[in-house]
């Protein structure tokens, strides 16, 4: 059975409740839905954040999210995947990203949800620029994110 894949890259906010309700295929069969919502942090060890700006590569971002979703479907036999990512200027407390997976059982739904976030963070062409008490800087890629993504590679 082909999984239902829904990818969106947009500037405006989204409604996680509505996305979750829409996720399990109408044909039924999904025993589990797992979701993840990422927010803009207002504070870190450098001080308070004013805003964050997300730049992306239109066209490639969507293609790359679709490839990641396809890989998750093939690996865990998912029934549906939704990925929504915002771009543009975002303020502390705002939603950035939403990932939802529908599967027969919870194990596949949980694992795929985490895999999608780990791969999205290390593969999809999106970049964060931050303004805070420390000034204005591009966010540097973190080794911890690469390490998390690396866990999913076959030994």
């Amino acid at each position: 059975m082909d999984a239902v894949i829904d990818i969106a890259v947009l500037r405006e906010d989204f409604d996680p409740g509505a996305l979750q309700e829409a996720l399990p295929p109408a044909s039924g069969g999904a025993g589990a839905v797992a979701t993840f919502t990422g927010y803009v942090r207002g504070q870190d060890d450098r001080g308070a954040l004013n805003w964050m700006e997300l730049e992306h590569y239109p066209g490639m971002t969507e293609a790359s999210l679709r490839r990641i979703a396809d890989e998750a479907c093939a690996r865990w036999g998912l029934l549906a995947v939704t990925i929504v990512h915002r771009t543009g200027r975002l303020f502390p407390g705002e939603r950035i990203v939403w990932v939802g997976t529908a599967a027969m059982h919870r194990g596949e739904a949980f694992a795929a949800c985490e895999f999608l976030m780990d791969y999205l963070k290390t593969r999809a062409p999106l970049w964060k620029r931050e303004s805070g008490e420390w000034g204005e800087t591009w966010v540097e890629a973190r080794d911890s994110d690469s390490d998390r993504a690396g866990r999913w590679q076959a030994p």
């Binding site: 590569y57 490639m60 976030m117």
Partner: protein, 84 residues
Amino acid sequence: MEVAVLFFARVREDLDCDRLQLALAEDGQTVGKVRERLMLRGPTWERVLSETNLVAACNHEVVDDSHRLSAGDEIAFYPPVTGG
């Protein structure tokens, strides 16, 4: 043949360029050759395009320097991604 070259995020800012068109000799063109050619544009270009963690994409897929090019390809150079 002509290809488009796009730059994103810090790379775009450092180069003060988001996009350019490049006319190339027809034969044996690769992403690595485009990179080398762009490095001749000046010290900033040489520094930014020789960064070891720079990512290259061709037609929306990540590729390495040996990737062969065709007319009309869209190449992109960008820093490690930080979305999510």
